[in-house]
């Protein structure tokens, strides 16, 4: 951060914790940035003359006579079209060796959209993955996380989704990414030749954890520039929001705040909502869609982080390793896109929602058959056909390595129905059966 001529400098710290320093000073404004011993910090509390600063890079080695210089403004990001194709750290500084960005300096974490000015999301975002497009269709302006265990390939899936999605800009906000994952994203974006529409803000595990707190606001400030100023369709990827929440709890703990559930700060819901609610369909046509990752601890969704997230986001996507086929699939039972009915059958073929319901119901019947089998009961002919169907359904549609158009997904589902079931067993409306049931199989 460049120093400025009018800055006020102090050299006497009153208190130091692992994440914060406190000092006596005057004329400091809330949320203002400061530099403590060369590290960026932000005002989080003032009490009389005593000001507490959250030091993003941690306080290791900071002496009580450290130099503190106030910068007079909250965190900002310079926005312009030059952002495209670039990689930045949590402070918005280039980390790809390229030049500094020139553009308008804007405060990050700005105000929210007037709810009355929003438009109802109505544009489909196809991803090629049938577990998403067919069963949990994404809509522009939606916010939805992957709930995944740390060992699952969520970053790969997100990169795939991002590169296939028909959007104008992709903004990656990486929090606590391992260096390997960071390079993975970088290589896949470069390899796809899509670098010019991608902006990345990255905090890796090599960086201090508190820095992560800036990442979502940085990414969303860039997203708002493209969506509001340029009327573009913007997709924001945030991974991993669990590590973001962990950083929140570190700071609140250092400030002696009383923790609520799972040692998370009491404001967790509002903190997460402020980020996710930036997803919006704007009246002028631009939109911000957020796909996030929330890693779970052994699938536990009652933990405060996934729980609060579930109440904020418009659905959630679960990854699951399918033991039958050895594929990673999008779990059709627990995954949900709350906005899918806004596009299914409206922006997609008329048989979409019926196909979705029928295929998932038959897959559920297969699960029941499997339970019967495990409990040593005899299987009926129907049960056996369900099991056969489930295997093919997982490989040809649910698996995350599928990449086909929505019409192909629907046709594939009709093929599977015709191969394994009678028309009546599918329970689909007669009108649709007459129109779409594959002829050669009759």
């Amino acid at each position: 951060m460049a120093s400025k001529a009018y800055q006020r400098v102090y050299t006497q710290l009153e208190a130091i914790t692992k994440a914060t320093v406190s000092l006596k000073c005057k004329g400091v404004s809330n949320d203002e940035l400061a530099v403590v011993s060369g590290r960026l910090a932000q005002v989080v509390k003032t009490k009389g003359d005593l000001v507490t600063l959250q030091v993003f890079a941690g306080t290791e080695g900071i002496p009580t006579n450290a130099e503190v210089a106030f910068l007079g403004a909250p965190p900002t990001l310079k926005v312009s079209d030059q952002l495209a194709g670039r990689f930045f750290n949590a402070y918005g500084e280039p980390i790809d060796g390229g030049p500094e960005i020139e553009g308008e300096e804007r405060q990050i974490g700005g105000p929210s959209v007037n709810p009355y000015k929003r438009r109802q999301p109505s544009e489909l975002i196809p991803t090629g993955i049938a577990g998403i497009d067919l069963n949990n269709t994404l809509v522009s302006g939606q916010k939805i996380p992957f709930f995944a265990d740390p060992d699952q390939p969520y970053n790969q899936v997100m990169a795939d989704v991002a590169l296939r999605a028909d959007v104008d800009k992709i903004i990656l906000g990486g929090m606590g990414l391992s260096n390997d994952d960071y390079l993975f994203f970088r290589h896949s974006f470069e390899g796809a030749g899509a670098l010019d529409k991608i902006v990345s803000f990255v905090n890796t595990t090599e960086n201090p954890p508190v820095e992560r707190l800036l990442i979502p606001d940085m990414a969303l400030a860039a997203a708002e520039y493209f969506a509001v100023d340029k009327n573009e369709k913007v997709l924001v990827l945030l991974t991993d929001m669990t590590l973001y929440a962990d950083a929140l709890s570190i700071v609140s703990n250092r400030m002696d705040q009383i923790p609520s559930k799972d040692s998370m700060p009491g404001s967790l819901y509002s903190d997460l909502a402020k980020i996710y609610e930036k997803a919006v369909q704007l009246p002028a046509g631009g939109s911000i869609t957020i796909i996030a990752v929330t890693t779970l601890n052994d699938g536990d969704i009652t933990h405060a982080i996934p729980d609060n997230t579930g109440y904020i986001t418009e659905g959630q996507l679960y990854l699951r390793a399918d033991s039958e086929t050895g594929k990673v699939i999008i779990d059709p039972f627990r995954s949900l896109s709350r906005l899918k009915q806004l596009v299914q059958g409206k922006k997609t073929r008329e048989d979409h929602s019926q196909i979705m319901n029928a295929s998932v119901r038959l897959y559920a019947d297969a699960q029941n058959a499997k339970t019967k089998l495990e409990n040593g009961f005899d299987l009926s002919d129907y049960d056996l056909r369900c099991l056969e169907y489930a295997k093919e359904y997982a490989i040809r549609l649910l698996s995350i390595d599928v990449n086909i158009s929505i019409d192909e997904m629907l046709d594939t589902a009709w093929d599977l129905f015709a191969k394994h079931f009678s028309k009546a067993e599918t329970g689909i409306k007669q009108k649709l059966i007459d129109k779409y049931w594959p002829q050669q199989q009759q």
């Binding site: 003032t46 009490k47 929003r118 509002s270 009246p283 009652t302």
Partner: protein, 584 residues
């Protein structure tokens, strides 16, 4: 002259102010930040230091910023034009703001001051009146909107003069009253009232006398909510809380509906903006939006205003109740309100109660629920505020402070359940855990038995008990296997499934099934209970399940068809044939 002060401390939206002069608890103040005035409310006073919660972002605020106390508490503006408005938690009109983004310190007028209303007087010069008495009325849409003696007026007054019939704006003086000391006071069509104080001005608050119809079987038949009653809907995310609330907002038998979107998703409110103007009120045939006010403080809007939003909504309901109208308040979600309280209590470093919530959470919630109710006005007419809140329990666990506190305060409990939602049994209200205390009120039992049919409540309890029995035998069947239990177990189980599929489940997206009138609910309950009363003779459990699946399918199809249509009668004939063949 109001007191002033200056800022001495800031943690997020909690600001400490050094005060010069007296301040009151809950008094409002403006904090001046470079010309932008940020509204805040006093929540604690200690010596000459006041803690205030700011209703806006405090970014850029400095120690030494000047504070101007306003000498009043947070108020709402009441008057014609409230209906079909969209407000934020502090009653700013969101529709008249120009920017796409909300601007800090931008406050808009809740009422259109220029609009003319067709006023007709109902009081005349010389009448003795007191607070909340009606002076005249204007037509707000199709509702008679009473112009009342302001609630803040104490003692009795004599009407000195009253405006003749004609068109006036809300600020026109429509009456002059003389108080007991002989002083004259002017009354316009608008008045203000502090949101945290309940509006009184009625004669008495009796026990509820009747139920509020919602067209939902799980409500009206099984767990009816009284007009002027209270209820709450707890449920994990993804269980259909919002769909249920919207269904009630669309179908609830009330004159006025106030929806408080309190800390929830903005896109859900957008759905209301988009859908409601198109929808028709099934009871009056008018546009739904005409009877609806939306208070919208979504999850990303300032936390302190979230707390205010539920009070703003309640005060608007109480205002319409004083006109002798039936109001329904829907608040989604009261957990977000409680969390706002928690955030403030936490910043004030108060000793926390369970789950870090403030220790007085329970009493705050009961006080709020107590503001609902049916009232008898001074002129003998009645009005009601029915309140339904949702609760979002952390982790779906109902043993948490907000659910437990609300359970003590609300009389109806609609427990949404993950397991039912997973099985797509919507509405996913657990039929065994849920209850309506009103079914124990002799007044309500009398009302139901008189308006629906003699012995109705007994039938409802019987159906509930069958569901409970069904659950018990299902557990036995799961343990012992299909062949390990007597045939009668299967029969009991399938009878409970019949009640579940035909009565408890209801398709909110089917045009006909979504709204089930009481007459139809009566027919369906009687039909289903008649089947349950029969003894069947089945060879094996397969035959039993197939037989009941057939019956269930027919009755469900009936739910989807127009009452009395040819299709409907065909299904009825089919049902009777099926019953003749096996029923004994």
């Amino acid at each position: 002259m109001n007191s002033t002060g200056k800022v001495t401390g800031i943690v997020s939206n909690l600001v400490t102010v050094q005060t010069f002069g007296p301040v009151a608890e809950n008094e409002l103040c403006y904090i001046n930040l470079d010309g932008t005035k940020l509204l805040a409310e006093v929540i604690k006073v200690n010596g000459d230091k006041a803690s205030v919660q700011v209703f806006e972002s405090t970014r850029g605020l400095k120690n030494g910023n000047e504070v101007e106390f306003l000498g009043k508490m947070l108020e709402v503006t009441l008057g014609p034009g409230l209906l079909s408005s969209v407000y934020d938690g502090l009653q700013n009109d969101l529709t008249t703001m120009e920017d796409v983004f909300l601007k800090r310190g931008e406050y808009t007028d809740p009422l259109d001051r220029k609009k003319l209303w067709e006023f007709s007087p109902t009081a005349k010069a010389g009448d003795k009146v007191e607070a909340a008495d009606w002076l005249g009325e204007v037509k707000e849409g199709w509702l008679p909107h009473k112009i009342m003696v302001p609630f803040s007026f104490k003692g009795s007054y004599t009407v000195k003069s009253i405006a003749a019939s004609g068109s006036y704006n809300v600020d026109t003086v429509i009456a002059t009253l003389t108080n007991e000391d002989g002083d004259d006071v002017d009354v316009t069509m608008t008045q203000k009232w502090p949101v945290k104080v309940a509006i009184k001005g009625y004669k008495e608050k009796p026990r509820p006398q009747k139920i509020m119809e919602t067209g939902l079987r799980i409500f009206d038949t099984f767990n009816p909510i009284a007009e002027g009653g209270t209820g709450f809907i707890p449920g994990p995310f993804g269980c259909g809380k919002t769909v249920l609330q919207h269904a009630i907002a669309k179908q609830g038998e009330a004159d006025v509906i106030v929806m408080a979107a309190c800390g929830e998703r903005a896109n859900e409110v957008v759905e209301i903006f988009t859908e409601f103007p198109e929808l028709i009120d099934p009871h009056t045939g008018r546009h739904l939006m005409e009877r609806t006010t939306i208070i919208c403080n979504t999850s990303n809007m300032p936390v302190a205003a979230r707390e205010a939003s539920v009070y703003t909504a309640m005060t608007i309901c109480e205002y319409y109740r004083a006109m002798g109208l039936r109001c329904l308040l829907l608040a989604d979600s009261t957990s977000r309100w409680a969390q706002a309280l928690r955030e403030m209590s936490n910043r004030m470093e108060e000793l926390p109660g369970a789950d870090a919530f403030p220790v007085d959470l329970s009493s705050i919630i009961s006080n709020f629920y107590a503001r609902a109710g049916m009232v008898v006005l001074n002129n003998g007419k009645t009005g009601a505020v029915t309140f339904l809140g949702t609760v979002s329990p952390a982790g779906g666990n109902l043993k948490e402070p907000v659910t437990e506190s609300t359970k003590k305060a609300a009389r109806c409990f609609y427990a949404l359940e993950q397991a039912r939602a997973d099985q797509k049994r919507y509405p996913a209200v657990n039929p065994i855990d849920s209850y309506s205390k009103y079914l124990e009120y002799p007044e309500i039992v009398d009302y139901l038995n008189k308006t629906i049919e003699e012995g109705w409540v007994e039938k409802v309890l019987k159906a509930k008990n069958l569901v409970r029995r069904g659950k018990e035998v299902k557990e036995q069947i799961n343990i012992l296997g299909d062949d390990g239990v007597p045939m009668s177990y299967h029969e009991i189980y399938w009878k409970s499934e019949l009640i579940d599929f035909v009565l408890l489940q209801q398709d909110a997206f089917d045009a006909i099934d979504a709204l089930c009138p009481l007459s139809r609910q009566k027919f369906m309950l009687n039909t289903v209970l008649d089947i349950c009363d029969r003894n069947f003779a089945f060879e094996d459990y397969q035959e039993c399940s197939n037989y009941f699946k057939g019956i269930i399918n027919i009755l469900r199809q009936m739910n989807f068809t127009v009452d009395g249509s040819e299709e409907y009668n065909n299904y009825l004939n089919e049902l009777n044939k099926l019953l003749e063949n096996n029923g004994k």
